[in-house]
């Protein structure tokens, strides 16, 4: 269902482990909000069991009935056969589109797509390393319809990989570019759980302590500057990537869809502000001023979009 609006809005996967009631309340708000697409699923740690695959599927049905496009994401770092089994369950179902988190997902999706034409096309997630047009041309024929560039890829490179006037084509037509436009950035993955390590717990007996931190566990430099966030096996930026003022640059780069990554406070308003700026006639500077007053978990940065260090604060 193509969006009639200039920019589609996607709610990215929930990277944290929230209590069940909080998760349900969050998606109830999303169902009523302006985002047209929602990515669901556990992408960080297979030990998080409060929301199992069956729960995500039930949530997917509900959001679909509320008129949302639903995408099921696979885990970014897959190391065990049990995780591969979950990944196959996600990739082999036919009801919802899938976002590939790694090459294992590409393998399974490629097979499934070849076996049954007409399945929903998939999303090339931000942890698949597509840095050039030639790379996207390798992945798209497997059945991709949407590409989310790696976090560190600048907009000038995004424009060269999938230019608006000369899109890479997948089986379902030209590939859509969806840029990570808001939220703490997933920067790295490890076999080791840094949250458990901080609490001096073993990974397999972690007491699920990542539940304590709704926006991850803040890591400061020795001089007290917020720098990174520990989120289980994932390391995020402490600052939030924010492209609310970059509408012309995004348009020039061929981006037609924005990904907003969940945070525990103010997210409903964040969605409304992005919708107003990108699909209405709201002024970006006023929206930015309001974002900065929402009590978001970190400062706003946009260095990656401009081929700078990712932590660089917003350009004037």
């Amino acid at each position: 269902m193509p969006s009639p609006r200039p920019f589609g809005l996607t709610v990215g996967p929930l990277p944290y482990w929230w209590p069940r009631a909080a998760t349900i309340a969050f998606y109830a708000d999303v169902a009523d909000g302006p985002a047209d697409t929602v990515v669901l699923g556990e992408t960080v740690c297979s030990r998080r069991h409060e929301f199992k695959l069956a729960d995500w599927l039930a949530m997917a049905v509900e959001l679909a009935s509320a008129g949302k496009q639903v995408v099921l994401a696979t885990q970014a770092l897959v190391t065990s056969e049990a995780e591969l089994r979950t990944l196959r369950q996600v990739c082999e179902q036919d009801h919802f589109a899938v976002e590939a988190g790694d090459a294992s997902a590409l393998a399974v999706l490629g097979r499934a797509q070849a076996a049954r034409r007409g399945r929903p096309p998939f999303v090339v997630g931000p942890h698949i390393n597509v840095y050039s047009r030639a790379a996207l041309e390798e992945v798209a024929p497997l059945g991709a319809a949407t590409w989310v560039p790696p976090l560190e890829l600048p907009l000038d490179a995004v424009a060269r990989v999938n230019p608006p006037a000369d899109r890479v084509r997948g089986p379902a037509g030209p590939v859509v570019t969806e840029a990570f436009a808001f939220g703490r950035m997933p920067l790295a993955f490890s076999a080791r759980c840094f949250t458990a390590r901080h609490h001096r717990l073993k990974k397999d007996e972690c007491d699920f302590r990542c539940r304590d931190d709704a926006d991850g566990l803040l890591l400061l430099t020795t001089e007290g500057r917020p720098f990174l966030v520990l989120n289980g096996i994932q390391t995020q930026s402490a600052a939030l990537h924010c492209l609310i003022g970059a509408r012309p640059a995004l348009q020039a780069a061929g981006v037609t869809r924005l990904r907003l990554s969940p945070c525990s406070r103010g997210f409903t308003r964040v969605l409304a502000l992005f919708d107003g700026v990108f699909n209405g006639d709201a002024a970006a500077d006023a929206a930015l001023a309001e974002l900065q007053s929402l009590g978001l978990p970190g400062a706003l940065v946009d260095g990656f979009a401009r081929r700078r260090a990712g932590m660089q604060t917003l350009s004037a």
């Binding site: 897959v78 190391t79 393998a107 050039s132 790379a135 076999a191 566990l217 020795t222 500057r225 260090a309």
Partner: protein, 341 residues
């Protein structure tokens, strides 16, 4: 491959780093079965000033290694720059022209290019491709004809064994050297602080972004302006790799991500051989020829003993020799063993 095949005791290839022609020659003399090297540009993941090979040096290195029955593998393991794929295409051509035995590749775009234009050139999947499962490895083998995959340093020994049982590609694992804490090829921490990362520029925590400062509070190491560590008087100065710094979490200052340690899997060698590992890689193209020579000698002896002798034991002399070269003077079995699991 049958899951219940008897444990193989094939002698794995010992793959050693060469940042210079001198290091390559010393690795070969010390018993490396293969050496890996990169060109003097951003097409490989050790893109440091004063390191790596020009064409004449590659040619001489290949001649030296081939004359002694050894192999030369060329690392082409960064991601193609969307602005100019030229350097990666030219590197593929040079590997073919200069007689490299295989290319170690991370980017699917480069794999496709090699397969199209130089199908006879062997392809190894770099650790930077982040293939952590047999499904991922088979994806690259079936589509791009990779003969071997280098496993990221995130798998446990049983996971390595499981992977080997389910893929037809050869498996290469890291045996010794500096340890990436994050899964390789999917870490943007360095570019977050400096704008340059292993994927894009072939560097992590690049020297140009490092600043040391003497302050009343101690010696400070900064990366892109971010305070990575502050050292008390007398504390040894390690290189300020971002993930190995000291940070504050919940009011506690510590190595919040990982302590500086080196991977050393000598103790696991019999299990790795029994699992059917095809090659063991030594990290360290950025290290000195003396490091390469001594570490290669130790691993040559260890592999020969593990492959032939009924009883294998890590010799105290080996451990002592390797300890001299370990980062932070500490050794760990890394994810293979996972005491933190």
């Amino acid at each position: 491959m049958a899951a219940d095949a008897p444990p193989a005791r094939e002698r794995p290839q010992l793959v050693c780093p060469a940042g210079s022609l001198r290091a390559l020659q010393m690795a070969v003399d010390a018993g490396a079965d293969a050496v890996y090297l990169g060109l003097k540009d951003a097409t490989n993941a050790r893109n440091f000033a004063g390191l790596n090979f020009d064409d004449a040096q590659v040619r001489e290195g290949v001649r030296y290694a081939h004359a002694r029955g050894r192999e030369v593998l060329m690392a082409l393991n960064t991601y193609v720059d969307a602005r100019d794929p030229g350097p990666w295409q030219r590197a593929v051509d040079r590997a073919a022209e200069l007689g490299a035995d295989a290319l170690i590749v991370a980017d699917i775009a480069v794999l496709a290019d090699v397969q199209r234009r130089h199908p006879q050139l062997r392809r190894h999947l770099s650790v930077q491709a982040s293939a952590t499962t047999w499904e991922a490895i088979e994806f690259y083998r079936e589509r791009y004809g990779i003969q071997r995959a280098v496993l990221p340093r995130v798998l446990t020994l049983p996971q390595v064994q499981h992977t080997i049982r389910h893929t037809r590609a050869q498996i290469e694992v890291f045996g010794f050297g500096s340890l990436c804490v994050m899964v390789e090829g999917r870490c943007a921490l360095s570019s977050y602080a400096t704008g340059q990362s292993p994927n894009t520029a072939g560097v992590c925590s690049p020297p140009a972004a490092v600043r040391w400062e003497d302050t009343p509070a101690g010696v400070e190491a900064r990366l892109g302006g971010v305070l990575i560590d502050r050292l008390a008087p007398g504390e040894p100065r390690g290189y300020p790799t971002l993930c190995k710094g000291r940070f504050v979490v919940d009011g506690e200052r510590d190595y919040a991500i990982e302590e500086p340690t080196s991977l050393n899997t000598l103790a696991l060698l019999p299990q790795l051989l029994a699992a059917g590992v095809s090659a063991i890689k030594i990290e360290g193209r950025q290290r000195s020829p003396a490091y390469v020579a001594e570490v290669t000698q130790v691993w040559r002896q260890a592999i020969d003993q593990a492959a032939s002798a009924a009883r294998y034991a890590v010799q105290p002399g080996w451990t002592a020799a390797l300890a001299r070269w370990a980062e932070g003077q500490q050794h760990t079995l890394g994810a293979y063993d996972r005491p933190w699991r």
